[in-house]
C-alpha cells in the first residue's frame, strides 16, 4: 500500500511539473529540464548507497570493537 502511494506521488509530482511548462529562460537548465529532480533523486540515492558501501567494504568498516 505504502509502496503504491510512493509511486503514485512520484508520478504526480513529475506530471505536475510537466504541466507548469517552464518558460523562464533565466532559470538554469536543470530547473527547466522536465523531471530533472525526479531523476536526480533516484540516481543520487543509488549513487550515495553504492559509493558508501564500496568505501565501507574496501576501506572503512571494521567488526565491532575494533578501531584500527
Amino acid at each position: 500500500m505504502l509502496r503504491r502511494l510512493v509511486w503514485v506521488g512520484f508520478a504526480l509530482s513529475v506530471g505536475g511539473e510537466l504541466l507548469l511548462a517552464a518558460t523562464d529562460a533565466l532559470l538554469p537548465w536543470w530547473h527547466r529540464a522536465p523531471a530533472f529532480h525526479a531523476v536526480y533523486g533516484v540516481v543520487g540515492c543509488v549513487l550515495i548507497v553504492v559509493v558508501s558501501k564500496a568505501l565501507g567494504k574496501v576501506w572503512l568498516q571494521r567488526p565491532e570493537g575494533r578501531d584500527d
Binding site: A38, Y40, G41, I48, V49, S52, G56, E64, D67
Partner: protein, 553 residues
C-alpha cells in the same frame, strides 16, 4: 534594571542554584530559570550592549543585534525544551552541567569581543565534556577525554590567534576579519567546533556516547555557536563554501554505514551544518540569513530527533539498528514525533527544514554556483534516505525482535511535542522566522515549482530506497573516521612513553645497583660512609636529564 542582566548569567546563576538548592525546589527551579532567561532574551532591544574596559580594550559581554538575537533566541528556546526533556533526572549534576553549557553557549553568541568569546568558548568545552562523561560508561569516558583533547587544541588555537591579533594592535573587537596568519588560527578554532571535516570526528565519536538527555543539549549548541562565530567573523570566505558543500555530503556518505541510531544522527549534524557553513562562505545577505534560518530550524528538529531516538534508548536500552525493530506497536507517539523531525530535516514541504534549507540552496543558485547547488541537493537526497527512511524503517518497523517498548514519560513527550509543534509551525508560516533574520529575505518557498521539484527529489529517493532496501539494514560494524589518526597516534605516544619509562626504570635500577656496589667497596675500604640515597637520586635524575637533552637536541 533588566538592562544589566545577561541571559547567560541567568543560566550560570541558575546552574549554581540547582547545585545547592534543596531537592523539593529542583523542578520549580528547572522550569523557572529557562523561562526567565527566555523572557529576558526576548525583551533584549536591538543594539543593546553591556560594556566595560579591561587591559585598555573595550570588553562587551553582551551585544545584541539581528545576528546574535536570532541565534540567542533559538538557544534560549532549546535550553527550555532540553530542560523539560530532562525533568525526570533526579541527579543534580546533569542539570548543573546542562545549564552551564547553555549559559556558555549564550555567552559566546552575545560576546562583543574576542576575550569574552574565548572565556565562554572554553566554559562551553568543559561543560559539554561533562555531559559526555556523565554517562559513566567506559566508552563514554574514553570518548569524553578524546573530545576534551580536541577542544583543548581548538581553544589553544583560538587563544593564540586572539593574542597575535591583540599584540599586532588589531584590538579585541569581534567583527568580520580579513584572513591573515593570526586570524587563520582563530578560523581553525572555529572550524573545529563547526565540525568541518577532517576536524569533525570528535562529534560523531562523542555525541552518541553522552547521556540520553545530554546528547539533546549537545546536538544544539556547540556546532551552531560555531556557525554563528563563522558568520560573524568570516562571512564570504570562499574556503567555507567548499568546506560546507563537502561536509554536507560527507555526513550522508558515512551515515549509510552507520549502525548506531544516535551516531547516524550525529553524522547528519555534520551534513546539516555543512549547509550553514556553505551559506556563511557564500556571504550574501540571503546566504547569511539562510545559514541563520537553517541553524534555527536545525536546532529544533535535531533536538527532536535526538529526543525521540534517546527515548528509544531510554526505554529499550538499545541504540543499534541490528538490535531494534518493530517498535511502532508500543511507541506510536514517539514514532509520530520522530517523523516530524525526520520530515523537517529532510526538507519536506510544510516542515521547517523546507523553508530554511532552500534559502541556502537559492543563495547558491543566485550566485551561479551550480556545482555547490548540485552538491547540496544530493545531500538532501542522502538526508531523507537515512533519517526519513532507513532509521525509522529499521527501528520502528522491519523485523519485530520482540522488544516490548513503551512510550517515555510525560515530560519527554511534552518536550518532543513542543519541538514538533515549532517545526511544523515554522514550516507552515515561515514569515515569523524570516522576519527575525539578520538580512531582509525576499523569498517565497511555497511556489508550485519548488514544492513539486522538492517532492520529486524526495519521492525519487523513496523509489530508490524501495529498490535497495535489502542492502540498507544495519550491519554490526564500526566505521573508521579521521579520529583514527589521534586514536592510533595516542596509542603510539602511550607506547613510546611506556617504553621510555620502562627503559628509565631499568637504568635507575642499574644505577642503584652500581651505587650499592661502590658504597660497599668504599665502606669496606673504611674511607667514607655510604652516600645518602637522595644524592644518588640526584645523580640519576641528572643523568636522565642529560639523556633527554641529548635526544631532544
Amino acid at each position: 534594571m533588566t538592562e544589566f542582566l545577561h541571559p547567560a548569567g541567568v543560566y550560570l546563576v541558575g546552574a549554581a542554584l540547582v547545585g545547592i538548592a534543596p531537592g523539593r525546589l529542583r523542578v520549580p527551579l528547572l522550569l523557572l530559570i529557562p523561562a526567565g532567561a527566555l523572557a529576558l532574551g526576548v525583551a533584549l532591544p536591538d543594539g543593546h550592549r553591556l560594556s566595560g574596559h579591561f587591559l585598555g580594550e573595550e570588553i562587551s559581554v553582551l551585544r545584541v543585534d539581528r545576528l546574535s538575537f536570532v541565534f540567542g533566541l533559538v538557544f534560549l528556546m532549546m535550553g527550555g525544551l532540553g530542560t523539560v526533556f530532562a525533568l525526570h533526572v533526579k541527579e543534580r549534576g546533569p542539570h548543573v552541567t546542562a545549564f552551564a553549557y547553555v549559559g556558555a553557549a549564550l555567552g559566546v553568541v552575545f560576546a562583543g569581543d574576542l576575550l569574552t568569546l574565548f572565556v565562554f568558548w572554553e566554559l562551553m568545552a568543559v561543560a559539554s565534556t561533562l555531559l559526555i562523561l556523565q554517562r559513566r560508561t567506559k566508552r563514554a569516558l574514553a570518548a569524553g577525554f578524546r573530545y576534551l583533547l580536541v577542544h583543548a587544541f581548538g581553544g589553544a588555537s583560538l587563544l593564540a590567534g586572539i593574542l597575535l591579533q591583540w599584540t599586532a594592535g588589531e584590538g579585541l573587537a569581534f567583527d568580520a576579519m580579513a584572513l591573515t596568519g593570526s586570524t587563520a588560527l582563530i578560523l581553525l578554532g572555529f572550524a573545529i567546533n563547526a565540525a568541518i571535516p577532517p576536524l569533525h570526528a570528535w562529534l560523531t565519536d562523542a555525541y552518541p556516547e553522552a547521556t540520553v538527555t545530554g546528547s539533546v543539549f549537545l546536538s544544539a549548541f556547540t556546532t551552531k555557536a560555531a556557525v554563528y562565530v563563522l558568520a560573524r567573523g568570516f562571512p564570504g570566505v570562499e574556503l567555507l563554501v567548499w568546506a560546507g558543500a563537502v561536509m554536507a555530503l560527507y555526513g550522508v556518505v558515512f551515515a549509510v554505514l552507520e549502525n548506531d541510531i544516535r551516531r547516524l544522527l550525529a553524522y547528519h549534524i555534520v551534513s546539516q551544518v555543512g549547509y550553514m557553513v556553505c551559506g556563511v562562505g557564500l556571504g550574501t545577505g540571503l546566504a547569511i540569513s539562510g545559514a541563520a534560518a537553517h541553524a534555527f530550524s536545525h536546532i529544533l528538529y535535531k533536538g527532536l530527533l535526538f529526543m525521540s531516538t534517546g527515548a528509544v534508548l531510554h526505554v529499550t536500552g538499545r541504540s543499534k539498528l541490528t538490535e531494534l525493530g518493530g517498535l511502532w506497536r508500543t511507541m506510536p507517539v514517539t514514532l509520530a514525533l520522530y517523523t516530524v523531525g525526520a520530515f523537517s530535516i529532510s526538507g519536506v514541504p510544510l516542515f521547517n527544514g523546507f523553508v530554511s534549507k532552500s534559502l541556502v540552496v537559492a543563495a547558491a543558485e543566485g550566485e551561479h554556483r551550480a556545482a555547490v547547488e548540485w552538491m547540496l541537493l544530493l545531500a538532501s537526497v542522502g538526508t531523507f534516505l537515512h533519517t526519513g527512511l532507513k532509521l525509522p524503517v529499521f527501528t520502528f518497523f522491519a523485523e519485530d525482535r520482540g522488544i516490548r517498548g513503551r512510550e517515555p514519560g510525560w515530560n519527554m513527550l511534552l518536550a518532543m511535542g513542543l519541538a514538533a509543534f515549532l517545526c511544523i509551525g515554522i514550516g507552515v508560516a515561515p514569515g515569523a522566522l524570516y522576519a527575525l533574520l539578520p538580512f531582509p529575505v525576499d523569498y517565497r518557498p511555497y511556489t508550485a515549482r519548488h514544492v513539486l521539484t522538492t517532492l520529486q527529489l524526495l519521492l525519487g529517493t523513496g523509489v530508490a530506497f524501495m529498490l535497495l532496501v535489502r542492502h540498507l539494514g544495519g550491519e554490526p560494524t564500526v566505521t573508521l573516521d579521521t579520529d583514527w589518526v589521534y586514536r592510533q597516534g595516542g596509542r603510539l605516544v602511550v607506547g613510546l612513553a611506556e617504553a621510555w619509562a620502562g627503559g628509565s626504570a631499568r637504568m635507575l635500577a642499574g644505577l642503584t645497583r652500581e651505587r650499592d656496589r661502590l658504597s660497599a667497596l668504599i665502606a669496606a675500604a673504611g674511607r667514607r660512609p655510604p652516600l645518602p640515597v637522595g644524592y644518588w637520586l640526584l645523580i640519576s635524575l641528572g643523568l636522565l636529564s642529560a639523556l633527554i637533552l641529548i635526544i631532544v637536541l
